[in-house]
């Protein structure tokens, strides 16, 4: 019995046409083909999706949580980046 674990894969599911693939979780599998099959079995058994992406977790590069202050806080004070400073004419609906 080998103690080597299978690699971890991140699973992305597109729930319907026109929507983005969204991250739904992760699983272990020996290779990409079986990762897709496992994702199908684990994450779409209740009709959650119409398309699957799997990416080996090794290939995901993440931002460093300790950098969060300098990365994300500066934008908190820049509300003008939201397009909310326009007068909407009376005749426009659904905005």
């Amino acid at each position: 019995m080998s103690n080597r674990e299978w690699p971890l894969w991140e699973v992305f599911i597109r729930s319907k046409q026109g929507l983005n693939h969204k991250h739904v979780g992760s699983l272990r599998a020996p290779d990409a083909t079986l990762a897709l099959e496992n994702a199908r079995d684990v994450y779409t058994r209740r009709s959650e999706g119409i398309s699957i992406w799997v990416v080996e977790s090794n290939y995901v590069h993440a931002s460093d949580p300790s950098d969060a202050d300098s990365l994300f806080e500066p934008s908190d004070t820049k509300v003008y980046r939201h397009p909310t400073f326009y007068e909407v004419p009376d005749g426009i609906k659904h905005m």
């Binding site: 272990r28 599998a29 099959e37 496992n38 079995d41 684990v42 058994r45």
Partner: protein, 251 residues
């Protein structure tokens, strides 16, 4: 009985699905890894679902008002018509995958031919089931290839499984005199066609898996005539316990 020949044929299909589904379900909570535990129980539930459709239709052909529950829970061992292959114990993971693969490689071409059945109900069941069975075959083929062409240990286990199970494969293609009537009516295909397709799939997957077909080709049979191995009785005890202990219970 409305159509005894077709009843017997559909019963064989239904019993194959039911018994293999029940067997595979024994892995629930015991899979070698969570993902495969779910994969096997998914396949098990697909098979039980197919068994429900098939046994319901068998009940209709029988014409005595029996539904799938009556046929699944209230027959004795010698009234089951599943092939011996499907009642064999799970063994290790390689054994379970090999058994499933040998069956899926048989079921897929069978359903493909049954799509063209002149019997509308059979064609409809085949259409729904084929989608599931295609995936089962893909999944089990991948596993047989990986186990056979994997580590020394996985290769050895896969080869042992093939050596053990090969003797039950001929029985899958069992065909009766009465079946020839069904064949001439275009209701079911000839098993020789199915066996040709099965051989093609099995040979190519086993070759890729670097596994060798046993040279001793002595074959068991009996399940299709109701003569089962000792394993079926224990399986049915599990399957039927609730209905036998509490007749007519529903849940």
């Amino acid at each position: 009985m409305k159509n005894e020949d077709l009843y017997n044929y559909v019963l064989r299909l239904g019993d194959d699905s039911l018994i293999l589904g029940q067997r595979l379900g024994e892995w629930c909570g015991h899979g070698p890894i969570l993902e495969e535990d779910i994969a096997m129980t998914n396949i098990s539930l697909d098979l039980i679902g197919q068994a429900m459709s098939l046994l319901d239709y068998a009940g209709v052909l029988d014409g005595q008002g029996k539904d799938h529950d009556a046929l699944a829970f209230l027959r004795f061992e010698n009234e089951y018509r599943n092939a011996l292959l499907l009642e064999q114990p799970n063994g290790d993971f390689a054994n379970t995958m090999m058994r499933q693969f040998l069956f899926d490689a048989f079921r897929k071409p069978l359903y493909e031919k049954l799509l063209e059945s002149t019997d509308m109900q059979i064609a409809a069941i085949a259409e729904k089931s084929l989608k599931e069975t295609r995936y089962h075959l893909k999944h089990t083929s991948e596993w047989v290839i990986r186990l056979g062409d994997g580590t020394d240990e996985s290769h050895q286990r896969a080869q042992t499984a093939l050596d053990l199970l090969w003797r039950y494969t001929d029985e899958l293609f069992f065909q009766t005199e009465e079946d020839t009537t069904l064949i001439s009516l275009g209701m079911v295909p000839s098993m020789s066609e199915i066996k040709a397709e099965w051989s093609k799939t099995v040979l190519s997957v086993l070759e890729e898996a670097t596994l060798v077909i046993p040279t001793n080709n002595w074959q068991f049979e009996g399940g299709r005539r109701g003569m089962h191995s000792e394993h079926l009785g224990f399986l049915l005890a599990d399957l039927q316990y609730m209905q036998r202990a509490y007749p007519n219970m529903k849940w």
